[in-house]
Amino acid sequence: MLQKLKELENDSRIKIDGAKNLEELKEIRIRILGKKGALTALLRSLGTVSPEERPVVGKEANSLRVELELAFERKEFALRDAQKEGQWESERIDITLPGRPGLIGQKHPLTLVMDEIKDIFIGLGFKVAHGPDIETDFYNYEALNFPADHPARDMQDSFYITPQFLLRTHTSPVQIRVMEKQAPGLPVRIIAPGKVFRRDDDATHSPMFHQVEGLAVDTDITFADLKGTLLLFAREMFGSEQKIRLRPSFFPFTEPSAEVDISCIMCAGQGCRVCSDTGWLEILGSGMVHPRVLEIAGYDPHKVTGYAFGMGVERIAMLKYGIGDLRQFFTNDLRFLKQFGE
């Protein structure tokens, strides 16, 4: 019986393949699958099969019917398509024409970088804080342990509005404003992005640029916590293979202080023009909050410790996107802006 089914299948397939037009195919179909068709006839003779064999043969016969149905359908499609050959050609489109223009703009690369920095630190439990662009001498300098007439002030040349007011030279005043508001409440964990202004203007300096400040104050913040936080940041920002290097440095408002380098992203630390053959790129300044700063902001430096860091957004964007000229950020040339997505 199974043998007969097999023969029927082969025979049917040859006939289906050989059909020359839809009418012929229809006739073949009736002869095989119709009420008086070959398969139906075969099934009628199922009674002659032994009861043990019967379910097996029945199953085979049914699946043959399904397969043949599909074969007829496929052949039918093929025959129909063949009929329309001329029509297809007349409906042909030129797939090499450009797509319909989508209307979509893009955020500024500095915004993209600041958003990324914010997201990393929000994920680490930091809160976003802001401070004014026009600051008082007190918040910008005094409270951050830059005494008047001190050489430390030479590190940042300021634009003054009056002797008392100036354009902030760093985002660090936000540290003081946040701590003052919250003291003696703990913990403090903030990230403060914003514009800063320094009296520099050349290929590597812009009179206005952007920084992101970070601050964490609690009963037990350590220098090791600072290093861990920054390592995590560097890896999120520049890739999981990143290494960081801390070098002792000086900022009036931190002690101990550290400059932080990442392994050069251009040469993977091998040494190149961008990193002056050192294999390292300086990306931020950091340190443990100076006890005098904690005190001015309303915390007892014997009971709490903190760390702070500040990074230049332009610097990070330049490294990340391979931008050579700082001034491009503020010219807003569309030929530049469109490279971040058009």
Binding site: L97, R100, P101, L103, G105, Q106, K107, H108, T111, G125, F126, K127, V128, D133, I134, E135, T136, P151, M155, F159, Y160, I161, T162, Q164, L167, L186, P187, K195, P207, M208, A216, D218, D220, I221, T222, F223, A224, D225, G228, T229, L231, R245, L246, R247, P248, S249, F250, E255, P256, A258, M288, T305, F330, T331, N332, D333, L334, R335, L337, K338
Partner: protein, 802 residues
């Protein structure tokens, strides 16, 4: 600070190469910006001895020189005249190379063969001596020795980039102490006691300090019978390595000692000091002094001067006076080594724009004990090199109260702050290497810090010393733990991000422009004096007019951007900026100004950019209005009004003021053609500026969702011909009123004016959606309501079409 590696080695052996030392110093807090070889390789340039001099047969100004260079004797034609037989000179032998680069070959000069060249210092690349004089070495220079080696050209210069707290390293001795802290090696102090003659300084000069705050210590020595001349070559070379131009022996020695000890010194020609008297005092108003650079300076009582009995002879700590300058006639000098008030020196140096090596050191603070050491060291060197007789004794007017800082340190706190374990023994070892004095007091350590490190006053300063010398690389990496902080991103922060997303999804590119602008640009916007935006906050010390005031509107910055892009053939632009403008409550500022966040948009050109498939329209008022509509829909703000009012810089009849619930949000408008012209914008530009804070105040940032309608809608179209003066808003309101609650949406889908429409009229086509919340509408319900709508419109003067 330039540190010659070979010079440094006179005080300490670092036990490693210059490069390794630079790396080690950088990683422990003294940043070495670069390590450079001092001079070029000079292959083939060797020390030669002048054996014979003869006149050139053809040219009077040339000399024939026979120079022995060890293995051979070369005859050389030379243009200089300053050598004599027996002199040791630099001979560039044939095939040698000089800086430039210059290749030296045998040549025939006016008929005489010349096998090489005798070199001047300039030809060797040194800023030394006269250009037409050849360099003459000390008599003991070995013949045949390569000149680059003799001159120390293979020395390495370390460029220290010192932070303000580490100005101690402005002297080599203190750099040596830093190297000692890194290596544990010994510091060798050079001899500092001069031989004195029996004649006492007391009768030879006197010193009076009138302001002991500004001058806490003044020491003076007198040296007689000095022979002023050029310094020996080795001394000149050391100064060149330090980046200082050699002048004459006494002046060179004061600079040498400054480089060695970090203590600036000054030498006066004592015979020119009237009354042989030094008075340290504030200048009198209107007093004048011609400083060593030849400039006449007008002084006043803010300036501390060194004066003689009559007039100022130096600006203390900044620059000496021409009237007592050391010259070749000088035979008797008074050497000043003093300490001055850092702040006063800093102010004076800045005021007269006279930053000098001396003022740089004084304004960072110097070690009051070193004042005397440097004084004696200089006297010793002058006696040895300039042949002077040092008078007995030092005048020392000392009001200094400088005492070493004492700091109590707890090793436990060091570990607490650093987040790691450093053993007590290691802490003690580091402090000893720093040459700090230690007294152990049970758990605590009492540290006495030498005067050379005034930056160390607190326990935290000691923690940094321990951490940096132990190695920042050994600090572990951990993360802070602690309580959760709620609301990590404020509503406003999120809203701003949402608006940026809407803007970019609408095709706008974000710009960031300077927060300061040119005041002339506000005038170009034709703002009247009374407009608050004219009351911009001026910057006191801008670079240029372009950055002279804080912006009160983002528009000028954006127009500059539009102009820039048009100039670069980017004709189709959708731009926005979200940023602060600055509003002074009063001028001049006596409190912090309001910083208001504004959203500024500009649109110009064909949008989308002309293309083969989708139609483009000129960017106009309605493009930006469409974006605002998206804002308002997304933020569920519905009481918005557009009033037909313009800004001074926008088109009188293509502008609107926007209000939310009666509060002014901002404006949209096509730029006034005159204003567009003054910015050289050759095509229409539409601008918009709205207040972010007000928008945020009115916004509901989380959408409230209504159920999706359950019953089908009936849609009917209506085409009207209407007098132009009837606004679309009026028509829409009339339809809504007449349509009642079942008219759920009125949408304008076509607008036409021109041919086939009577003059003064326009045709508008609306699609009206009717729906009932409960139950299906019948045709007759809708027809009835449509009739009412048509009647109302007819009364307004609208005619129904087709």
């Amino acid at each position: 600070m330039r540190v010659s590696y070979q010079w440094l080695k006179e005080y300490i052996d670092p036990g490693m190469s210059a490069e390794a030392l630079a790396e080690k110093m950088t990683l422990s807090g003294i940043e070495v910006g670069a390590v450079e070889r001092f001079g070029p390789d000079l292959p083939g340039v060797v020390v030669g001895e002048v054996l014979k001099l003869e006149p050139h047969p053809g040219r009077d100004n040339l000399t024939l020189v026979e120079a022995g260079v060890g293995d051979k004797i070369l005859s050389i034609v030379c243009g200089a005249k300053n050598m004599k037989v027996g002199d040791k000179v630099a001979v560039a032998t044939p095939g040698s190379e000089l800086p430039g680069p210059r290749h030296i070959q045998e040549a025939v000069l006016y008929g005489v063969k010349s096998s090489g060249m005798l070199c001047s210092a300039h030809e060797l690349g040194l800023e030394l001596g006269a250009e037409d004089e050849i360099l003459i070495f000390d008599g003991d220079a070995p013949i045949g020795e390569p000149v680059d080696r003799l001159l120390g050209f293979d020395d390495k210069i370390l460029y220290l980039e010192l932070t303000p707290n580490r100005s101690d390293c402005l002297g080599l001795i203190n750099v040596a102490y830093e190297v000692a802290a890194l290596t544990g090696n010994e510091v060798k102090i050079p001899p500092v006691y001069p031989p004195e003659i029996s004649k006492s300084v007391d009768g030879a000069a006197s010193v009076r300090v009138e302001d002991k705050i500004l001058c806490p210590r003044y020491t003076a020595r007198v040296i007689e019978n000095i022979n002023i001349k050029y310094s020996p070559l080795w001394l000149q070379m050391k100064l060149l390595k330090a980046g200082i131009r050699p002048i004459s022996n006494v002046v060179d020695i004061t600079n040498y000692v400054m480089w060695e000890w970090g203590q600036p010194l000054h030498a006066f020609d004592l015979q020119l000091v009237k009354g042989r008297e030094i008075i340290v005092r504030r200048a009198e108003n209107k007093e004048e002094l011609v400083t060593l650079d030849g400039v006449k300076r007008k002084l006043d009582s803010d300036v501390l001067v060194i004066a003689d009995g009559l007039i100022p002879i130096g600006m203390a700590g900044v620059m000496g006076g021409e009237n007592t300058e050391i010259t070749e006639k000088t035979s008797e000098v008074l050497i000043e080594a003093a300490a001055f008030d850092p702040t006063n020196i800093r102010r004076t140096a800045r005021r007269f724009t006279l930053p000098s090596e001396a003022s740089q050191r004084f304004e960072r603070g110097i070690d009051h004990e070193v004042v005397m050491i440097a004084q004696n060291r200089a006297a010793l060197m002058i006696a040895e090199i300039a042949g002077g007789d040092v008078l007995k004794g030092v005048i020392d007017i000392n009001y200094s109260k400088a005492v070493p800082n004492k700091v109590i340190v707890s090793p436990e706190r060091i570990n607490q702050v650093l987040g790691m374990k450093i053993a007590r023994d290691e802490v003690l070892k580091i402090l000893r290497r720093l040459r700090f004095t230690i007294k152990e007091n049970e758990e605590l350590i009492e540290v006495t810090v030498p005067l050379r490190r005034p930056d160390i006053t607190l326990e935290e300063d000691i923690i940094e010393e321990v951490a940096r010398l132990h190695g920042y690389d050994k600090i572990p990496t951990t993360l802070p733990s602690g309580e959760l902080i709620e609301n990590r991103e404020s509503e406003e922060e999120r809203l701003q991000d949402l608006l940026k997303n809407i803007l970019t999804a609408s095709g706008f590119y974000e710009c960031i422009s300077y927060a300061f602008i040119n005041p002339a640009n506000l005038v170009r916007l034709r703002l009247p004096e009374t407009d608050w935006r004219m009351q911009a906050i001026p910057v006191q010390n801008p670079f240029s007019e372009e950055q002279a005031i804080m912006r009160t509107t983002i528009i000028p910055g954006m127009l500059k951007t539009v102009q820039h892009n048009l100039n670069h053939r980017e004709l189709n632009q959708l731009l926005f900026e979200i940023g602060s403008v600055y509003e002074a409550k009063s001028l001049p500022l006596d409190e912090l100004p309001a910083e208001k966040v504004k959203i500024c948009m500009t649109a110009t050109g064909m949008i989308p950019e002309p293309n083969w498939i989708a139609p483009s329209r000129e960017a106009d008022f309605f493009l930006i209005k469409g974006v605002l509509t998206t804002f308002f829909n997304r933020l569920q703000i519905d009481d918005v009004e557009y009033l037909p009012e313009s800004e001074p810089f926008t088109h009188p009849t293509r502008s609107a003021k926007i209000k939310i619930g009666g509060d002014l949000l901002g404006f949209i408008g096509q730029l006034h053609p005159e204003v567009a012209g003054s910015w050289d914008l050759g095509q229409p530009v539409t601008v918009c500026e709205i207040d972010f804070t007000l928008l945020a105040e009115k916004a509901k940032t989380v959408p409230r969702v209504k159920p999706v309608p359950r019953y089908p809608a009936v849609i009917r179209d209506l085409a009207l011909v209407v007098p132009r003066e009837i606004s679309a808003l009026r028509l829409e309101n009339a339809m809504k009123e007449a349509g009642g609650d079942i008219l759920t949406r009125v949408k304008l889908f076509d607008l036409y004016e021109g041919k086939q429409i009577p003059e003064g009229k326009r045709s508008l086509a609306y699609s009206l959606t009717f729906r009932r919340e409960e139950g299906t509408l019948t045709d007759s319900d809708v027809n009835e309501r449509l009739k009412q709508i048509e009647a109302t419109l007819y009364n307004l003067g609208a005619a129904l079409r087709g």
